[in-house]
């Protein structure tokens, strides 16, 4: 064991925290983001840093535009988002490539191979290709910090936004990082240069020429860029690799020669050819799409015959070992007979109460992105579509246009998701004379990503008070005549409001407002209990899937027996309203 203590200025940071640290050290003045796993912690860490503005934007497109504006005004700026967030911001990104920057602009895309917390596993390296901008792929936290710093320098040197792409494993793994000092960089402010910053066709045509020339210069730079390096091994096997896959290759094949690429767009063609000539068998190891492999093959470089790499899911050391033909001890299989433990809505969650009402009304539910998407699971099973942020309202409206009915479908969308991209589809519903029922599940926070603020909470990312966007005001302003607010814990009122909305021939919005129970922990409510005398064993209380209600039916018994676990019960009383026998009652104090 080494007895050397780590240097004092060394910290165990996640990739996200390291990127934030890199941005801080690089003198970033403006950082913006919309929360999204696995990128959220980047901006959260920046809110703790002095000397810069770190703020949540209503969505990723706005975040990138604010960062672009700051960069055009000469500041170093960063926008961070999850992979699907870059779809939202892509319109800005592709033309920001034409305008270029003044201060450095780094766009962070946190991809999620394996879909730990996402609706798809797109490979965002393709955006670098599409937008014709440089792409950096760090493989651990130290690189995440260093690449962020270099990203700002490259951005300024080549007058381009830079895409810094991480994945869940780099974002959420912690490793040691050497900390540096912040270098302050003043911004000179915006100055007029319409040929650069006004993208009308005449200007954009000239800018596109410059973009192509920039790519040629970047390709030349890539040949000698310190992020692209050869690690000479035993000479016979060579691996071209980037990102987290580098760590897996070093783990399972420590003696292989490695061409480690940190700058992966544009690729260093001469370096790749030189490396290929120096080894007998050449492999490309990468997660998701054959982004590097396809280009290497197009160069006419011959790759070794190898098993096909999976284009789905995450890589692992074992998967890389199989691909490279490394023999490893056979691993044991896990037990196949264990009950799964999926995530669930919390006891006392207002979403569960609302979804219980919708289940009873037997309507189709056009869903959205948030905790409430968990409603697709048994026993609630009240989600029929979920595509992307904000899709619920447009999809419901489209279904309605075909079925000709608006009395059997609702759109459900969270408060922050509504602000993100639910307002424009609601305008569409009104404009095109739809009768859609929209339910905004307002828990007054971005819950799923860990309780961030948004324009509807009345607080900024750093906790300062600000104007609170009232969702009911927005809905009325776009022309919704029937807007109501209800506490979803009150099942009867909620049911009546939704039923009335469904039957109306005009669009309605029901705002089901109940603060996220995890934010309300301090508030002690008395737990409920089951009165065994009154309980008839119908099991209806189990049908809304509250984790605090335990099924303790003895094996073989047809009559259900339930117990409410007092340590878990949030005291919301929803189950007491569901019980047809009145057998669920508030526990006496001290019970």
């Amino acid at each position: 064991m080494s007895s050397v203590s780590p240097p004092a200025l060394c910290a165990l940071l996640s990739g996200d925290e390291a990127i934030a640290r890199g941005a801080f050290e690089a003198g970033v003045l403006v950082a913006t983001a919309y929360p999204g796993t696995p990128s959220t912690e980047i901006l959260e860490a920046l809110t703790e840093c002095p000397g810069l503005r770190a703020q949540w934007a209503p969505n990723e497109k706005v975040a990138l535009e604010v960062a672009l504006g700051a960069a055009l005004a000469g500041a170093r700026a960063m926008a961070s988002m999850k992979h699907v967030g870059l779809n939202v911001a892509s319109d800005t990104l592709v033309t920001a490539s034409y305008t270029g920057v003044r201060g450095g602009l780094v766009v962070v895309s946190a991809d999620d191979p394996g879909m730990h917390s996402s609706q798809n596993e797109q490979d965002n390296r393709h955006y670098a290709h599409l937008a014709k901008i440089p792409l950096l792929e760090p493989s651990d936290s130290q690189e995440a910090k260093d690449f962020a710093v270099l990203g700002f320098e490259l951005s300024e040197q080549f007058d381009t936004p830079v895409l810094l792409r991480i994945t869940t494993r780099t974002a959420h793994s912690k490793s040691l990082v050497r900390l540096g000092e912040r270098t302050e960089r003043a911004a000179e402010g915006f100055s007029r240069d319409p040929a650069k910053t006004v993208m009308v066709p005449a200007h954009a045509r000239r800018r596109h020429e410059l973009v192509e020339a920039r790519m040629a210069k970047l390709a030349e730079y890539a040949e000698t860029c310190p992020l692209n390096r050869i690690e000479r091994g035993d000479g016979r096997t060579g691996v071209i690799v980037s990102g987290i896959a580098y760590q897996y290759v070093k783990e399972v094949r420590p003696r292989a020669s490695v061409l480690k690429l940190g700058l992966t767009h544009p690729l260093p063609e001469r370096l790749i050819r030189r490396f290929a000539r120096s080894v007998e068998r050449l492999y490309v190891v990468e997660e998701l799409d054959p982004f590097i492999e396809g280009q290497v093959r197009a160069m006419g470089v011959k790759l070794a015959r190898a098993p096909t790499q999976a284009r789905t899911g995450e890589l692992s050391p074992s998967a890389v070992a199989r691909f490279l033909g490394v023999r490893r001890r056979k691993s044991r299989a896990g037990a196949a007979d264990l009950p799964p433990r999926p995530p669930t809505l919390c006891p006392g969650c207002g979403h569960r109460a609302l979804l219980t009402v919708l289940k009873g009304l037997k309507v189709f539910v056009s869903g959205d992105i948030g905790c409430y998407t968990l409603g697709v699971q048994p026993p609630l099973r009240t989600m029929d579509t979920c595509v992307c942020m904000g899709a619920s309202i447009g999809v419901a409206h489209g279904i309605e246009k075909v079925s000709g009915r608006s009395d059997n479908i609702v759109a459900v969308i969270g408060d922050s998701t509504f602000v993100h991209s639910g307002i424009t589809p609601l305008i569409d519903v009104i404009y095109n004379r739809g009768a859609t029922t929209v339910i905004i599940l307002d828990n007054e926070t971005v819950a799923m990503t860990g309780h961030q603020d948004h324009p509807g909470t009345g607080k900024t990312a750093s906790g300062e008070p600000t104007h609170r966007l009232l969702l009911e005001d927005i809905c009325r302003a776009v022309g919704v005549k029937h807007v109501s607010v209800v506490d979803p814990y009150d099942l009867r009122s909620t049911r009546e409001l939704v039923r009335a909305a469904l039957q109306r021939s005009e669009a309605s919005v029901v705002i089901a407002r109940r603060r996220c129970v995890l934010l309300d922990r301090g508030r002690v409510r008395r737990p409920f209990r089951v009165d065994a005398e009154q309980c008839v064993g119908c099991g209806q209380c189990l049908a809304h899937g509250c984790p605090a209600i335990a099924d303790v039916t003895p094996p073989g018994s047809r009559r259900k027996q339930v117990r409410i676990v007092p340590e878990l019960c949030a005291g919301c009383g929803v189950c007491a309203q569901i019980c047809p026998e009145g057998a669920i009652v508030e526990a006496a104090s001290g019970e």
């Binding site: 064991m1 080494s2 007895s3 050397v4 203590s5 780590p6 165990l12 796993t37 696995p38 730990h116 917390s117 651990d140 869940t168 494993r169 959420h172 793994s173 912690k174 490793s175 040691l176 987290i244 760590q247 897996y248 070093k250 783990e251 399972v252 420590p254 692992s316 050391p317 074992s318 070992a321 490893r328 001890r329 691993s331 044991r332 299989a333 896990g334 037990a335 007979d337 264990l338 009950p339 799964p340 433990r341 999926p342 995530p343 669930t344 809505l345 919390c346 905790c371 968990l374 699971q377 048994p378 026993p379 799923m448 990503t449 860990g450 899937g545 984790p547 335990a550 099924d551």
Partner: protein
């Protein structure tokens, strides 16, 4: 070549797995090792299964523990321990809290919560310690220090000096919780009869 130590911590979202992982990683760091720690958060927090992995040694590459190379599996809950028991290497160890937490929601047609987890853990790993962590934590003064009891037990089976553990507890915990957790750590560490060695 100096050996790499791989510790996996498994449990249910909300049990404090990520904090426990931070403590182990900081202890390894305080002892001068290279460290990597990895876990997935996000959706898994809502009562789902969560696992944190810590690797330390002279130089660590993969943040993921390769298949079958877990030296010590620390399970904050029995079922989650069994779910990862096959990843423990030959001669490796399982330290399990004796807590049984059935999944919050029963997936239809899924198997029952097993009754024989302790026996099955003993079949899967050579050294198994089942620890009444909540009871010991109550003795230390707070039932919520159960994870620190398990960390105390863990500290006897991995090669890190006791000062490194205590400095990690000081770094990772709020000052108001420190005293009870230092006590819990000692209780776990002093516990005899934890395993046949």
């Amino acid at each position: 070549m100096s050996r790499i130590t791989n510790v996996a911590i498994a449990g249910v979202g909300g049990q404090g797995i990520i904090l426990a992982g931070d403590i182990v990683a900081q202890a390894a760091r305080s002892a001068g090792h290279d460290v990597k720690k990895n876990e997935v958060h996000g959706m898994a927090q809502r009562g789902g299964a969560v696992v944190s992995e810590i690797r330390y040694g002279k130089r660590i590459y993969s943040p993921l523990i390769p298949d079958g190379e877990v030296d010590v599996l620390m399970a904050l809950e029995l079922l989650e321990g069994l779910r990862h028991a096959h990843r423990v290497r030959a001669g490796g160890m399982v330290i399990a809290n004796e807590l049984r937490l059935p999944p919050a929601v029963r997936v239809p047609d899924s198997p029952e919560y097993p009754d024989d987890i302790t026996e099955r853990l003993r079949g899967a790993a050579e050294n198994v310690a089942v620890v009444p962590a909540a009871e010991l934590a109550r003795r230390a003064g707070n039932a919520r220090a159960a994870n620190t009891i398990l960390i105390g037990v863990l500290s006897r089976f991995v090669d890190l000096p006791v000062d490194a553990w205590k400095s990690a507890l000081r770094m990772c915990l709020r000052p108001s919780l420190l005293e009870v957790n230092l006590l819990a750590f000692d209780l776990g560490r002093r516990r005899r009869k934890t395993a046949k060695r």
